[in-house]
């Protein structure tokens, strides 16, 4: 080993203590365990190399992200057969090359050490690993004789050919029981859109709007299709800079970007909307003839003073918002979870949508999407009522078999639903999943799924911006585990048993999908041959579909507002806020996302409770103190984060943490605010009113440092972030108005 000896003197020289420059590099000759390792690692060559494969050089393949329902197109870099990185597909009109942190972290789901690699079957009360064949035989034995509505599927949002295949499976069994459950959904607004516009999911044109008024629609963070909206928002803010106003009880990422942020008492958003309409009609002489007389009567009741009394929003703020909307047309008014997850959610959402009708936005910034032309492929949008419906059936003993996929209801269901007890009444429960979680712990059979990056599929997002897109999901690598199957393959295998004649000729889901794609209407295939159409769609990762959009209607229903009475025992409102990253908790097992600080509070790895400084002072708590938040359903404990961006009557706790059984990164970390949600539903749609819970707060006396990136929220006059007025910006920094 001549040339490699290192002694103490050389080491000190290397560390800069010796100082003789001639020896400056001698420390770099230090033998390390790695450089001396010879013959410790194996290296296998290809037997026959693929022509396009060069070891060490990545190849990018297109697919579709499955981390939420937005359906962003992705490109994945594959090297030596391994997927190393995903980025947005620039051709996708949904994300134009962008990808959010949840999409980026998709790799961590794929390579997660907690992934299930073998099926589990319950034997003597506990789940044990068995072969796929054994588990499958058990599923066959227990489910083949079950007919009709005694078999149910409980899934998250599904779309594309997997949804179509699931419908066909349900038809073959004779069951209508497919419950599509999402705790973070936009169902109330969809119902209002359906009634008022004639279309549940129209297009919102942020790029055409000159002012946006958002009632808790966190479109930059967690609402519907955030990556797309962020792009449109960038257009909205550049050039002739649009004005963003956000009204919500707790500041979201969108709220933090607003020109005017307004804290509102939860559940009173509809009243504020009517108050704004009142100012528009009385002060700004906006033409109210678009509204029916009953609606104008309802609006007339809500003068700014009355609005202030109910909502807590100052009268001059109401006038200010109305003035912005009047001056800047067309505008866009949106509603999100904090506005409509209440008992009066539908009325609030209707009053908010009414503003679009009054301001003439319908047809300008709210357009018809026309709907995806192949109906069986459209997204089955999730609701939380679906969970209650499923639970009710299970409770009656009406279900013999339940298949659960893409949802973790035992974790996300509120405690009052007693979901676990009701699920236990289903005789045979099959969970299809990548990971063991709270729900799979109750299953009789757990079938391990291949990851989205190992599976074939198609995806049609519920929200389709600008142009219709069918996302193509292709495997980016061979499965990591031999005994996993894609969701499509499981559905196909189940169908083959029930309808052999139609499906026997497909060896696997790939064969089915390829055939099904070539059966799409000729107009979608743009005159291509089967092979050419398939190849180009897979290569591009998406299929663009043009549709003709009809005009939207603009009906205005009864706008009578009901607001909940104050509850003296429980003086505070609980806001279980959605968090970009952990989402409803499904991504809590991805360490990048646990480690990524929340965009607003900058807390990581834990839960926290946001309190207004005034409230914190009243309660005598400071940042890091643990408080007990108690509703009529139970209590949780979390550390206080004192923050001005929250209504003084509100305590906001993010969703996503509090797992008991979801792998090494998620378990025993933080609390789940959904557990203490009161038994309230939206009166019109039956959606669980997650924001309608009243709580009381008590000090626990415990305190420790809140895990939080960054110290102060204030610049303390140091101008760390400089600001200029829009006029100065246009003159000096550019923008489209500059010649």
């Amino acid at each position: 080993m001549s040339g490699n000896e290192i002694n103490r003197r050389d080491f000190l020289k290397f560390m800069g203590i010796g100082g003789a420059s001639a020896a400056a590099l001698s420390g770099c000759d230090m033998p390390t365990t790695v450089t001396l390792e010879e013959g410790k690692e194996k290296v296998a060559a290809y037997l026959v190399p693929e022509e396009y494969v060069i070891p060490g050089v990545g190849v990018w393949f297109a697919s579709t992200c499955q981390q939420c329902g937005a359906g962003c197109g992705v490109h994945g870099r594959v090297r030596e057969g391994r997927l190393l990185k995903v980025e947005g597909n620039p051709d996708s009109a949904i994300n134009w090359g962008g990808l959010c942190q949840m999409g980026q972290a998709g790799l961590q789901g794929h390579y997660n050490p907690d992934r299930l690699s073998k099926p589990l079957v319950r034997k003597n009360g506990s789940l044990v690993e068995v072969s796929w064949n054994e588990a499958w035989a058990l599923v066959e034995e227990k489910t083949s004789a079950v007919k009709g509505d005694r078999a149910a599927w409980l899934t998250g949002s599904v779309s594309g050919h997997q949804a179509a295949l699931l419908s066909k499976l349900q038809d073959s069994v004779g069951s209508k029981n497919h419950f599509v459950y999402e705790v973070i959904n936009n169902r109330v607004a969809e119902a209002v859109n359906e009634a008022m516009l004639g279309e549940a999911v129209p297009r919102y044109r942020f790029d055409k709007a000159k002012a946006i008024l958002s009632f808790g629609a966190d479109f930059l963070g967690t609402w519907v299709s955030p990556v797309h909206f962020t792009y449109e928002y960038a257009g909205f803010r550049s050039g002739d800079r649009g004005v963003l106003i956000t009204v919500e009880p707790k500041m979201t990422l969108t709220g933090a970007n607003s020109d005017l942020w307004v804290a509102i008492r939860p559940g009173t958003e509809g009243v504020l909307a009517l108050g704004i309409a009142n100012v528009l009609l009385t002060k700004h002489q906006v033409d109210g003839s678009r509204l029916p007389a009953a609606a104008r009567d309802a609006i007339a009741q809500y003068t700014p003073d009355k609005v202030t009394e109910i909502t807590g929003v100052a009268g001059d703020t109401v006038v200010k918002i109305a003035t912005y909307l009047k001056q800047r047309s067309p505008s866009l008014v949106l509603s999100g979870a904090s506005a409509h997850d209440h008992a009066n959610g539908y009325q609030s959402a209707a009053a908010i949508m009414m503003l679009n009708v009054l301001l003439g936005n319908v047809g300008q910034t709210i357009e018809s999407s026309g709907g995806f032309p192949v109906k069986e492929l459209t997204a089955k949008r999730g609701s939380s009522k679906a969970l209650a419906d499923f639970a009710a059936l299970a409770d009656q003993g009406a279900l013999d078999v339940a298949f659960i996929y893409g949802a973790n209801p035992v974790f996300t269901a509120p405690a009052h639903m007693k979901f676990a007890d009701k699920l236990a009444k289903v005789h045979f429960k099959v969970a299809l999943t990548l990971f063991a979680d709270e729900t799979t712990a109750m299953a009789d059979v757990v079938l391990p799924l291949a990851s989205p990056y190992e599976s074939w599929g198609t995806m049609v997002a519920a929200y389709q911006p600008q142009e219709m897109t069918l996302g193509m999901q292709q495997p980016l690598m061979q499965p990591l585990y031999a005994e996993t199957r894609s969701f499509g393959d499981v559905l196909l295998a189940l169908l083959k048993k029930r309808n052999a004649a139609d499906y026997q000729r497909y060896d696997d889901y790939y064969a089915y999908l390829r055939n099904a794609m070539t059966q799409l209407p000729a107009g979608l295939r743009q005159g291509k041959s089967d092979a050419e159409f398939w190849d180009t769609t897979v290569q591009k990762g998406l299929l663009k579909v043009s549709t003709t959009a009809p005009a939207l209607k603009a009906n205005v229903p009864d706008l009578t507002q009901k607001t909940a009475a104050a509850a003296s025992d429980f003086p505070f409102h609980l806001v279980p806020s959605a968090r970009l990253g952990l989402w409803d908790g499904r991504h809590a097992n991805l360490p990048w996302l646990q480690e990524a600080p929340d965009q607003v509070s900058k807390v990581y790895w834990d839960s926290w409770a946001e309190l207004h400084p005034k409230t914190a002072a009243q309660l005598g708590v400071k940042e890091g103190d643990f408080i007990r938040i108690e509703s009529d359903q139970g209590a949780i404990e979390a550390q206080v984060y004192v923050f001005k961006g929250v209504h003084p009557e509100v305590v906001a706790v993010p969703m996503g943490q509090g797992h008991e059984n979801y792998g090494r990164y998620a378990s025993k970390r933080g609390v789940n605010p959904l557990k203490i949600v009161s038994a309230v539903t939206d009166e019109k749609t039956g959606e669980i009113a997650t924001h309608a819970t009243r709580v009381k707060i008590t000090k626990t006396g415990k305190s420790s440092q809140l895990p939080r990136l960054g110290g102060s929220d204030r610049q303390a006059g140091r101008r760390l972030v400089g600001t200029v007025t829009a006029d100065v910006f246009r003159k000096t920094e550019g923008g489209s108005n500059v010649a």
Binding site: G3, N4, D29, K42, I54, G56, V57
Partner: protein, 170 residues
């Protein structure tokens, strides 16, 4: 056993290392191929000029010749067995750098061979020998150069290679 390479516009790196003999599933004789038969290193390690890794030749490449050449030799019979079982041999890695070191064969070959005026590609083995030693004379390769940071940095200093930390550490 430093090679007295006279590659134009290049100063070979200095340093020696007495590596262990690493056993391999088939004792591949580099001397017969590269020296006796004069096969260019890059004929088998085809990826070296295009990628960061030189690449272990695919089994199909071996079989390209050995379905007809020397088929009666025991090592070729062993190779043919692998081929027929559809299993590439699992070689033991002799030359390696730590995972935090980013080394690209392609850039080094470009500097010393392809973009090097007066250098003939048929003499590639002399450049390979900078870091791998005179493999032409070996049967089973063993490591004769230290491949540690001092070895690399001294060569970079002499040959005008980049000295930014992030060129190699990323």
């Amino acid at each position: 056993m430093d090679v007295q390479a006279e590659v134009p516009n290049a100063v070979p790196p200095v340093g020696e290392h007495k590596g262990d003999k690493v056993p391999q599933p088939i004792e591949f004789p580099h001397d017969i191929h590269a020296d006796k038969n004069g096969i260019n290193c890059m004929y088998c390690h085809t990826y070296a000029r295009r990628s960061k890794v030189a690449g272990i030749p695919p089994t199909s490449k071996c079989m390209g010749c050995h379905t007809v050449i020397a088929t009666d030799k025991p090592r070729i019979k062993q190779l043919t067995e692998y081929w027929e079982k559809h299993e590439p041999p699992q070689w033991n890695k002799v030359h390696d750098v730590p995972d935090f070191v980013h080394f690209t064969h392609e850039k080094h070959l470009r500097r010393f061979i392809f973009d090097n005026e007066g250098m003939d590609v048929s003499r590639a083995s002399e450049v390979c020998a900078f870091c791998h030693g005179d493999i032409k004379k070996m049967t089973v390769a063993n490591k004769v150069k230290p491949l540690n940071m001092g070895f690399c940095v001294r060569c970079h200093e002499k040959n005008g290679g980049p000295s930014d930390c992030w060129k190699c550490h990323k």
